[in-house]
């Protein structure tokens, strides 16, 4: 239940604060609290002690948070390493399989490009392991998946070619 006076004041409240004290007031305050300094020297130490406790407490908390942060970082690092191991194994398997066939090496340029991107992503992850590390990791995983898919495609193509040549060969034999 507010009337137009209340509304007006609420809207224009800051305009009512037009007065500022002269500088003299502040210097007076300063001189008035100054003589107490000598008497209150003991309590100064109290403040210093309190400040010290506060600071060390803060530092403790800071360290704790920092530690837990690096703990989670280590965890993330482990996860990355694990999935990297898993993916490199898969990729190597495919590559091994491929190497048994004779095929156009041009097909591997895509893979090389993906490798390059992978290295860049890894460098970025090391450089800023902060806020967007999740995004980078995600991109790395996608990179692996793309690589696997590409290898799969190449492999099936190569196999098909191989089968054709084999059948041709066999047909020439028989």
């Amino acid at each position: 239940m507010s009337d137009n006076l209340e509304k007006f004041v609420r809207k224009n409240r800051e305009h009512f604060d037009s007065e500022t004290p002269r500088d003299k007031v502040w210097s007076n305050i300063y001189t008035e609290i100054r003589p107490e300094k000598t008497i209150r020297r003991i309590s100064w130490y109290k403040y210093a002690a309190a400040a010290l406790i506060l600071v060390s407490f803060g530092a403790g908390i800071g360290l704790f948070i920092g530690n837990s942060h690096s703990n989670s970082e280590i965890l993330v690092q482990q996860q990355i390493e694990e999935s990297e191991k898993k993916y490199t194994k898969l990729v190597n398997n495919k590559l091994n399989e491929l190497s048994e066939y004779d095929f156009d090496k041009k097909l591997l340029t895509d893979i090389e490009l993906l490798d390059q991107i992978h290295l860049e992503l890894k460098a970025e992850l090391i450089e800023n392991s902060g806020a967007n590390s999740r995004v980078v990791i995600h991109a790395m995983m996608q990179n692996y998946q793309a690589k696997l898919a590409a290898l799969e495609r190449i492999l099936s193509e190569v196999k098909e070619n191989d089968l054709e040549t084999q059948s041709k060969e066999s047909s020439t034999i028989y």
Binding site: S2, D3, N4, L5, V9, S18, E32
Partner: protein, 144 residues
């Protein structure tokens, strides 16, 4: 505070209080609110010293009706000068409620009066302010 010199005196004392009572600050409120309270208490002590505080008038609970002030009279300067002409008691309640945003319970605590007194005082102060504003307007119209 009516005069600038008085206001400066009170401000000065209030801030000396703030610094000397710093160890009493209990963290029950924000430092800002605490300092504000000290300044207000200093103002009130000053007013009491000058015996300007309000008489507890007949405490008939007043129906809180909105006070409508003609729109053309609503200006910062007019309201300020109008408030200067109010009795200190009225001005104090108006200042605390309207300007400083305390509610009636808080004003009652600060001024050591009852909540209903705070409400009646506030209502009357607004009405009086409206009268003053209209009167001022009429006299300035007459003069012009």
């Amino acid at each position: 505070m009516k005069s600038k010199v008085d206001a400066e005196d009170v401000l000065q004392n209030a801030f000396v209080d703030v610094f000397t009572k710093l160890h009493q600050f209990g963290y029950q409120s924000t430092p800002g609110a605490w300092i504000k309270r000290i300044v207000i208490n200093n103002c009130l002590n000053h007013l009491k010293k000058k015996k300007m505080l309000f008489e507890e008038i007949d405490n008939i609970p007043l129906v809180q009706e909105p006070v409508h002030i003609p729109q053309q009279l609503l200006s910062v300067d007019k309201i300020k000068s109008g408030m200067m002409q109010l009795a200190p008691g009225f001005r104090t309640v108006l200042n605390l409620y309207l300007m400083e945003g305390y509610d009636h319970q808080e004003i009652a605590d600060i001024l050591d009066i009852s909540v209903s007194t705070s409400k009646t005082q506030y209502s009357r102060a607004k009405k009086k302010l409206r009268e003053i504003l209209i009167e001022e307007e009429n006299s300035s119209v007459l003069l012009a």
